[in-house]
């Protein structure tokens, strides 16, 4: 059944080479880098600190605030620096993906800022960003129930593949490309899913299972990097 050949020769369930490093930004309370092949994300955490302006303070629980940003030269066609509609939405999606594992109920009136920058992009940037951010939060010592791991599942024509690259994202043959970024906690709870394309519910269920297995592999890479910094 495997008729589709991936342009970089990977197996269908193979993630690109992953690299993870904790503590890349000395000024930050926590920071990390995560990469899937040519997609590189860095994340920095500042806080918990008092929320300003005051009217944004929430007395009932702490606030998580994420900002996702692509560097202008991270893509082939230069993008204008600064926030866009796309980055604003992704920032919020990342907040939703991360907050379920944070134990910030007691941080009333406080905010935890997470800043994510994409240095080099080759698809799956939000997944790399989420993976870096969760490590940075752990590095900052924010109380967490679990880590989250994120991966994109693609349907190219009729077949499912793991961790799309740009070429696969732009795949046009047959039924074309469907991109499904998914985030799981290590316990197996889904905190984020998006979908662009066309897929039947049966195959989507398979895609989710595939993501679950892939996220476990990503979790091991994240855990290793966090342990390395802990041992220093």
């Amino acid at each position: 059944m495997t008729t589709y050949k991936r342009p970089d020769g990977r197996k269908h369930d193979e993630i690109r080479e992953m690299k993870a490093k904790v503590g890349v930004i000395p000024n930050a309370d926590g920071s990390a880098m995560f990469s899937f092949g040519d997609t590189i994300a860095i994340a920095a955490v500042y806080g918990p600190k008092k929320m300003h302006p005051q009217h944004l303070q929430n007395p009932e629980k702490g606030t998580l605030r994420c900002v996702y940003n692509m560097m202008s030269f991270s893509v082939t066609d230069r993008i204008r620096p600064g926030p866009s509609r796309r980055s604003t939405e992704i920032s919020k999606i990342i907040e939703w993906a991360l907050e379920p594992v944070l134990m910030i109920d007691k941080y009333s009136n406080m905010v935890i800022d997470v800043h994510i920058s994409i240095i080099q992009a080759n698809a799956s940037t939000r997944c790399a960003g989420i993976n870096a951010a969760t490590m940075a939060l752990a590095h900052a010592g924010i109380p967490m129930k679990d880590l989250v791991s994120s991966v994109s599942i693609g349907k190219l024509d009729k077949e499912l593949v793991v961790d799309l690259n740009k070429e696969e994202e732009d795949f046009k043959e047959g039924e074309g490309s469907t991109d499904i970024p998914i985030t799981f906690t290590n316990q197996g709870k889904m905190t984020h899913i998006q979908l662009d394309g066309k897929i039947k519910s049966k195959q989507l269920k398979e895609a989710v299972e595939l993501a679950r297995i892939s996220c476990k592999k990503i979790y091991e890479v994240q855990k290793k990097a966090l342990k390395e910094i802990g041992e220093k």
Binding site: I25, N27, I42, A43, S72, F73, P81, D113, H115
Partner: protein
């Protein structure tokens, strides 16, 4: 829990006292730069990109080429645009939102340093006079701010330009084929402009301040020069300078410019 946003008066006093004895917190001499580490090719999709570390200060600079319309007063010349973003990622002091004065000034000082030195040969960046020219985008991002982002950005800009390659240009369809680079470099002159900033703290002049030193600096002068020829300058902050002090700044920067050039020379080939 909240990070201190400025350097305290007590620390400031101590820095000034140390400087009057000719000493700095990190043991450097007054005119001594921290170690400079440069890494090129940090982002494959850029035509040129570098990471510059000066001590703990770190910036990324990327070059992208685009096609634009020439300005009416220079129909046969290419364009250049420098932008700088002081990312909130790089310091608890920077906030998201529209660019504020420090990032605007940073971009403009770097812009002037490169433009006025005629480092880029804009005439060679003309595709069709009056209609189509290349635009060089120089984008600067702070990654970790421990003082002296100005000089780090300047070093980043020149090394990124030196290492950049022109993208392929499809003449028939008048389009850039992004992702396909030629072996051709951006047309640059031999004289490489380096901008160096001197700070006056108390009665002492220093180079390459750390965050704490920069906080208590009352005057700074940034000079862009190549081989002793000065092509751009900006004095910043409130305090005045005497002619005598200004002359000292000139002498100091001319000397340091050579030192820095030697340190980064191998990345400028």
């Amino acid at each position: 829990m909240d990070k201190v946003q400025t350097t305290s008066n007590m620390t400031g006093e101590r820095i000034r006292k140390y400087l009057s004895e000719g000493k700095r917190f990190d043991g450097r001499k007054m005119e001594e730069f921290r170690d400079i580490i440069i890494e090129t090719g940090i982002s494959k999709n850029a035509e040129g990109s570098v990471r510059v570390k000066i001590g703990k200060t770190e910036v990324f600079v990327g070059i992208k080429m685009g096609i634009g319309v020439p300005y009416p007063d220079s129909p046969d010349k290419g364009n250049m645009m420098v932008t700088a973003e002081l990312l909130p990622l790089s310091s608890p002091r920077f906030e998201t939102g529209p660019p504020k004065f420090p990032s605007i000034e940073l971009a403009r000082v770097i812009d002037r340093g490169i433009r006025e030195s005629k480092f880029i040969d804009f005439e060679k960046l003309c595709i069709k006079e009056g209609e189509k020219v290349w635009t060089v985008f120089i984008d600067i991002y702070s990654i970790n701010d421990d003082g002296n982002l100005l000089d780090a950005a300047g070093i980043g800009a020149i090394t990124a330009l030196k290492n950049a390659k022109m993208p392929k240009y499809d003449e028939e369809n008048e389009k850039i084929l992004y992702g396909e680079l030629t072996n051709e470099s951006i047309p640059l002159s031999k004289e490489i402009p380096i901008s160096i900033t001197a700070h006056k703290i108390g009665d002492n002049l220093i180079i390459d301040p750390t965050r704490e030193e920069e906080d208590i600096s009352k005057t700074r002068v940034t000079i862009g020069s190549a081989d002793g020829i000065i092509s751009s300058m900006q004095k910043g902050e409130l305090k005045e300078l005497s002619i005598e002090e200004f002359n000292k700044v000139l002498d100091l920067i001319t000397k340091v410019e050579r030192d820095v050039f030697k340190k980064i020379e191998k990345f400028l080939k």
